[in-house]
């Protein structure tokens, strides 16, 4: 049970933003800007960063929902998602994405873990300032989301089908603030 009185039966961050829409609107806006607005990284690649950080933080709600969104967005290349969840070293990644995911993993520990050689490795494989900036900010943002979702003990569904539905919604509609009236209809 969640630590505070959120709408019953609503999972994860959705229940929290319905509890406090005044902050929820900015959280959803930030997710939409970072994961869907213009960036040198594709939405699929950005969802992969979100998945990797959430996995390292053991935030099962965020990990499963963003993995589902990433699978939808990668289409027939979706096996990369489970590859990253299992082991970055052996996942079918471009050298650039691998270097960026290593940076994201260090941001998950602490910003100070990111070293000049990590940045140099990413640049060697074609990462420019914006790739590096967006990677760090997405990783930092999920360090926030993961803590928010688990820190208040929000509901984490266990049925994989629930996440498939979320992934479809996130990959098509993006991040849209749920309406309070959705409480009774959304599982």
């Amino acid at each position: 049970m969640a630590h505070i009185k959120v709408p019953e039966g609503v999972p994860g961050i959705r229940s929290l933003v319905m509890f406090r829409p005044e902050t929820g609107r900015y959280l959803y806006e930030l997710a939409q800007v970072l994961l869907r607005n213009e960036s040198p990284l594709t939405p699929a690649e950005r969802e992969l960063i979100a998945t990797h950080v959430s996995n390292r933080n053991e935030c099962m709600f965020c990990m499963n929902s963003h993995a589902a969104a990433a699978r939808e967005l990668f289409g027939d290349k979706r096996e990369v998602v489970d590859g990253v969840i299992h082991d970055i070293g052996s996942a079918p990644l471009t050298p650039k994405m691998k270097a960026l995911l290593i940076i994201a993993g260090k941001v998950q520990i602490n910003g100070r873990e990111v070293k000049p050689e990590d940045i140099a490795e990413a640049r060697k494989h074609g990462a420019a300032d914006r790739d590096i900036h967006d990677t760090v900010l997405i990783a930092a943002t999920f360090s926030m989301f993961n803590r928010y979702v688990d820190g208040l003990a929000s509901l984490t569904p266990t049925d994989p089908k629930d996440y498939e539905a979320m992934g479809k919604r996130m990959s098509t509609l993006g991040y849209v603030l749920p309406k309070i009236s959705d409480t009774c209809t959304k599982k």
Partner: protein, 186 residues
Amino acid sequence: MPYIAVEAHLPGITGLLEYRKDSAEPIRDLTQFLLRGPNTLTEGERELIATIVSHNNECRFCSAAHTAATDLLFGESNTAACVKADIETAPVSEKMKALLTIAKQVQQSGKAVTTQAIERARNAGATDVEIHDTVLIAALFCLYNRYVDGLATVTPADSDFYKGLADRIVHHGYTRLPQGYDHLKK
């Protein structure tokens, strides 16, 4: 030197927020609402949460900036210094001790927050919204601290810099200055 090209006259977070403005806007608006919006926790108490998280993440820029803001709001520098040293003996209310303990747990991991810590806050009179906002402020500063240090932004050594910054975030707030930041160029 920062890992990406940010404006040299804007150390710490400001250069990053100016580097990418479309992502800066919701971050700024969220911070303005959480730390300056209507709330039963005072602005000083909310800055104290930002301070303890930044201190424990060893983010020197954010820790110095929010310590300075807390000091300005409290009108003394003892409270923030004591909270950073030891929450339990610091001169704050039992409710604030409980909320700061929750913030410290969030700094480690969302999963580190204990039912006992939540119960303690509730027994000391904390409301659901206060517990929610404490967790979200703590989580937000885990974002800021990683953004600032993950891109190796400049941390000024001069304490006057942080007094100036505190003056801005206390008297103007967290939204972008309407005139931008070019006037800070030396």
